[in-house]
């Protein structure tokens, strides 16, 4: 069994109608004015979840998102034939976390940005669980799309979460664990990223099978 203990958790679940400008107003106190101006909705939400959480060079950041900076992507596509350099760089995965850490001028040694959909949550957890860092900061989130959502190519909601995962159980609020048994055939459905965020927000336990073993999310 490999496990890590949850020492910090914050989930952002903004109102369904919140826009990036709305988030900029709501979260303005958490960011420098220079950084705030150019941040995406997802960047703002991710940044809000790690507000007050110390992240150092030796800590590892794992980031999970299926759709990433959808709005920047949508706007970049409509900027052609005069492609926008700002929207191009902002649309590139993993922009949201870079917006936050560049705003903080905080280098990190190991940064694993993951994408995908069906088994994204367990890939992110495995990546965090096998990491040697004293603290692994597991981030995830999405922003709501517009025309890409109409085609099923964007998230229908905005959210973000941050977990600080450490080896020490003392003082932890929960734990994540993976018990490998090599039983490939018994793979079950993996929680989606929105499901996982909701479980975190509601402190709900989760158990599922995948990657040749069993995953557990538990609360103290």
């Amino acid at each position: 069994m490999i496990e890590r203990h949850i020492h910090f958790l914050r989930v952002e679940h903004p109102a369904a109608a919140e826009t990036a400008d709305g988030a900029r107003d709501r979260l303005a106190a958490k960011f420098s004015r220079g950084a705030l101006r150019r941040m995406t909705h997802l960047g703002l939400l991710v940044g809000s979840t790690v507000d007050g959480l110390a992240i150092g060079l030796d800590d590892t950041v794992v980031y999970a998102t299926t759709y990433a900076e959808t709005r920047a992507l949508e706007d970049y596509l409509t900027s052609f034939p005069e492609a926008s350099p700002l929207l191009f760089q902002t649309s590139i995965h993993p922009s949201a976390v870079q917006q936050v850490l560049i705003g903080r001028q905080q280098p990190v040694r190991r940064f694993f940005p993951l994408t995908g959909r069906r088994r994204l949550v367990e890939q992110a957890l495995l990546t965090a669980l096998i990491d040697p860092a004293p603290q692994v900061v597991l981030l995830g989130g999405e922003e709501r799309g517009t025309w890409m959502l109409d085609h099923g190519m964007a998230s229908d909601r905005a959210f973000a979460f941050a977990l600080s995962l450490r080896a020490e159980p003392a003082g932890a609020i929960g734990r994540v664990a993976f018990a490998p048994d090599g039983a490939d055939q018994e793979t079950g459905p993996c929680p989606t990223l929105p499901d996982f965020a909701e479980a975190l927000a509601g402190r709900r336990e989760m158990h599922w099978r995948g990657a040749g073993g069993g995953f557990t999310l538990q609360w103290s």
């Binding site: 299926t66 034939p81 280098p107 959909r117 890939q123 990546t127 190519m153």
Partner: protein, 369 residues
């Protein structure tokens, strides 16, 4: 503290790539002959625009099915083994582009079939169906260090005892979406790249590239001994001007190469500042080690460059000669830059590096006793 390097030795059971020159053997042969795949072509494909250096496997314009699928199919046919994407044989797919160019195609002609492989998740799920891959697929996208991170993740899974063999597959094919973006940043311009050259204006080229590697815990004659990573988080498209990011990564990986005589395959896209900082860092930490870049011929294969260039390094080692910096020119920013090909004799290791937006650095030690 976490270790500054990931010393996770992995055997390379198989590795190959695809570029406009062909597979790794053909591409390395072309590099040894000093040939350039880059040609001046319109930045937006059929829609025209400025001429920029691109190295393409055919036309850049998006098609349905995607124009890169037949090329990828030919590469995947060369992957040994089967049942990839299962728990003990997971698959790691990396890219910086996936099928994103098709989203731009959709905005032009409104054909919804382009969307089926546009976003990363849709693209990977299409490939899973196409190639019969299972559910255990890790998808990593960290701009131009994506493939390199895939190799790190494979080593971590193997050393955690969670896998017996890991397949890493990477692909990046240029599209008007991507070429237009780099052109807007003014680093893809009317000049061919000359990596590590001292000149008035820097420039890069972009190239199509795909590659795979099968990694194991077994000891093989050619193996990846260690990886070093560093993310500056200083600026989206620039590095710290004091070179601290290059220095951190170079110092860490150089520490793993002590006692070896190494050569360095740098990132070397053709940008001036990053090229100089990289060359100076490796000249400082690995004095006497020749430094080469192959992007002056092949262009920058973006998220796939780390694995494409690993496959070329392996092919060069098999051939007994390592290609020099094709397209480079004097004066160079350091005396360590090797413009000409050189024999592998006398070397027993190589440092291979990649860099990306956000000041991301990745370096690995390839041991070749």
């Amino acid at each position: 503290m976490s270790p500054t390097v990931d010393s996770l030795p992995t055997g390379i059971e198989a590795c190959d790539c695809l570029t406009p020159f062909g597979d790794a053997t053909a591409t390395t042969g072309a590099l040894l002959a000093g040939r350039r795949a880059l040609q001046m072509q319109p930045v937006l494909g059929a829609a025209g625009g400025d001429l920029v250096p691109l190295a393409l496997c055919g036309s850049m314009d998006e098609t349905v099915p995607p124009r890169w699928l037949p090329d990828l199919r030919r590469l995947v046919e060369r992957i040994p083994g089967d049942r990839w994407g299962t728990a003990r044989r997971p698959l790691i797919v990396t890219s910086s582009n996936f099928g994103v160019g098709s989203l731009y195609a959709f905005t032009r002609d409104r054909d919804p079939r382009h969307l089926r492989h546009g976003p990363p998740f849709a693209c990977v799920e299409m490939l899973q169906r196409e190639f019969g891959w299972g559910e255990q697929v890790h998808v990593i996208s960290h701009a131009c260090v994506s493939a390199h991170l895939g190799l790190v993740q494979a080593a971590r899974l193997l050393h955690a005892g969670l896998a017996d063999r890991v397949l890493v597959v990477t692909f990046d094919f240029v599209s008007p979406f991507v070429a237009g973006g780099f052109h807007s940043l003014k680093i893809l311009n009317a000049s061919l790249p000359a990596p590590y050259a001292v000149r008035a204006t820097g420039s890069i080229g972009l190239g199509d590239g795909a590659a795979f590697a099968v990694l194991t815990r077994a000891t093989t004659p050619l193996r990846l001994e260690a990886h070093a990573l560093h993310n500056e988080m200083h600026h989206f498209t620039g590095n710290r001007p004091d070179g601290a990011g290059f220095d951190a990564c170079a110092a860490a990986i150089a520490g793993t190469a002590r006692g070896r005589r190494v050569w360095v395959k740098g990132h070397g896209t053709g940008t001036l500042e990053a090229g100089r900082l990289e060359a100076e860092a490796y000249a400082r930490h690995l004095p006497g080690a020749p430094l080469v870049s192959w992007k002056g011929s092949l262009g920058h294969t973006l998220g796939s460059c780390g694995l494409v260039e690993l496959a070329l390094a392996l092919a060069g080692l098999r051939a007994g000669r390592l290609p020099g910096t094709v397209g480079g020119a004097v004066p160079c920013c350091t005396g360590s830059v090797a413009l000409e090909a050189f024999a592998r004799d006398g070397y027993d290791g190589a440092i291979l590096t990649s860099n990306a937006f956000g000041g991301a650095h990745a370096a690995m030690l390839l041991a070749h006793d």
